[in-house]
Amino acid sequence: MTRATKTYVSETVSRLKPSGIRRFFDLAASMEGVISLGVGEPDFVTAWSVREACILSLEQGYTSYTANAGLLELRQEISSYLSRKFGLFYRPEGEVLVTVGASQALDLALRAIVNPGDEVIVVEPSFVSYGPLVALAGGVPISVRTNGADQFKLRPQQIEEVVSSRTKALILCSPNNPTGTVLNQEDLAAIARLVEKYDLLVISDEIYAELTYDEPYTSFPAVEGMRERTILVSGFSKGFAMTGWRLGFVAAPEEVLQAMLKIHQYTMMCAPTMAQYGAIEALKNGEHDVDEMRKSYRRRRNYFVQSLNDIGLHCHLPGGAFYAFPSIASTGMASEQFAERLLLEEKVAVVPGSVFGASGEGYVRCSYASSLEQLQEAIKRMKRFLSRL
């Protein structure tokens, strides 16, 4: 075969679409003076005490590998955090694994459970990596489209519509990226009944659990009967403002967790050591900082969402995370076009809803993890933009 017809890249990877967020990044990065509502991460810097703990670990020379599953002290802290916060009980030895971000945890979870051709239900609009990770694990992502009129809540009958004999698992994300929608105890209990009925596993991405503003948070494995069927994925990125540390964790029943650990030990060995020392401090003494950040996000959410509605972009009040997901239907534009024109004409970066799946079309994702001044200016510019249409 000649070089021209041959590709070295695997078919699975060839078929993956590049993230739509990437395209917008390239466009926005080439411009100056952009107000960015396009960022999926906190605008806070990691708490000083956490940074200090990491520096201290370096000064003391803790620069070697840790146990594959992570420092035992950190796993113990994670275990007691999960019990204190959500009433969950996981054994630090055997049921907790420290990963390189929630991202690696998701990858491990899927690779540990998916057989070739297994179907995994992905609730859209969804975080951009779920579908591709399912495909990379050899599975088939099956989309369920939630809708704006229902505040993007997953309803049990939507699972029934797509479930098949090949369905292995369901990925839940509450609070959701990009919609900010939170599934409460009632919503989760209804989903749990079907999970049992169809004998599914659930990968519950709870990376935004610390960032909920209205109702007490229910963790999916805390729902009756669900602990044995859930892989709980979480981490430090969002609630603790530690995105760059690349540190996450998984809690799951021993059989599944050990399978994930097997992959982890061959592919990653262990998460970064200094980050793990920082994370111990975050769990031990970080609660006050998390509270302050949560308060600040809630106020900015209230301001931003009401302002969006005031300027004519209808938006439900998201219960968690730091995203507003307003409808742009009134403009008659597709979300790509809206985002592109808003960026070029008013220098406000938002992410088109379509990159989160077909049901995100007609919406844009705006992160309100920005200073109040930036949010005020963004609203002013968006208002001016809309008035010209």
Binding site: V39, V128, R299, N302, S370, L372
Partner: protein, 166 residues
């Protein structure tokens, strides 16, 4: 005085930013503009909010560099009024920015702002040390302000995040 949750929230917000527009404040706290306004008014009337202050970095303004001194003052307390009377005599001077009663090596801590070192020296030698109850003064000039009332001067607070991210 016991504040409601909304009242407390408003105190917290305006403490950080006194110039926040009323409609923004109302939206942040999920109140109507009228409700937010009436809470603010109540907080002002009851002197929970004492004053809306501005922190100025005077070094940036030509001809306004000024000097600040902290003066440790030892005094003889007076029967019946303790330190209050002398403290009051000191804080009535317009040059005096703050006066605190301290425990430890001295009694009063007095902060003075003047246009020049000579002006501060003049105040200390002519006005402060000549007060009846004042036993001694120790003057410390402030060389540089890094942080004042919780605000860091010239902090690198730019957004370090990339413009669009997952």
């Amino acid at each position: 005085m016991k504040l409601t949750e909304k009242e407390l929230e408003i105190v917290e917000i305006v403490e950080k930013n006194a110039r926040i527009p009323l409609d923004t404040l109302a939206k942040m706290t999920a109140l109507t503009v009228e409700e937010a306004e009436s809470i603010l008014k109540k907080l002002e009337e009851t002197k929970v909010i004492v004053q809306y202050a501005t922190i100025v970095d005077w070094r940036k303004i030509d001809g306004h560099e000024g000097v600040t001194a902290m003066i440790d003052v030892k005094v003889t307390p007076k029967r019946g009024v303790g330190f209050d009377e002398v403290a009051e005599r000191i804080y009535r001077f317009p040059e005096v920015k703050s006066v605190y009663l301290m425990s430890g090596a001295y009694d009063l801590s007095v902060v003075i702002e003047g246009r020049s070192m000579a002006e501060v020296a003049h105040f200390v030698s002519e006005k402060l040390s000549t007060l009846d109850s004042v036993i001694s003064t120790t003057t410390h000039f402030i060389l540089k302000k890094y942080k004042h009332d919780g605000t860091v001067f010239d902090q690198g607070d730019q957004d370090r995040r990339i413009v669009v991210a997952p």
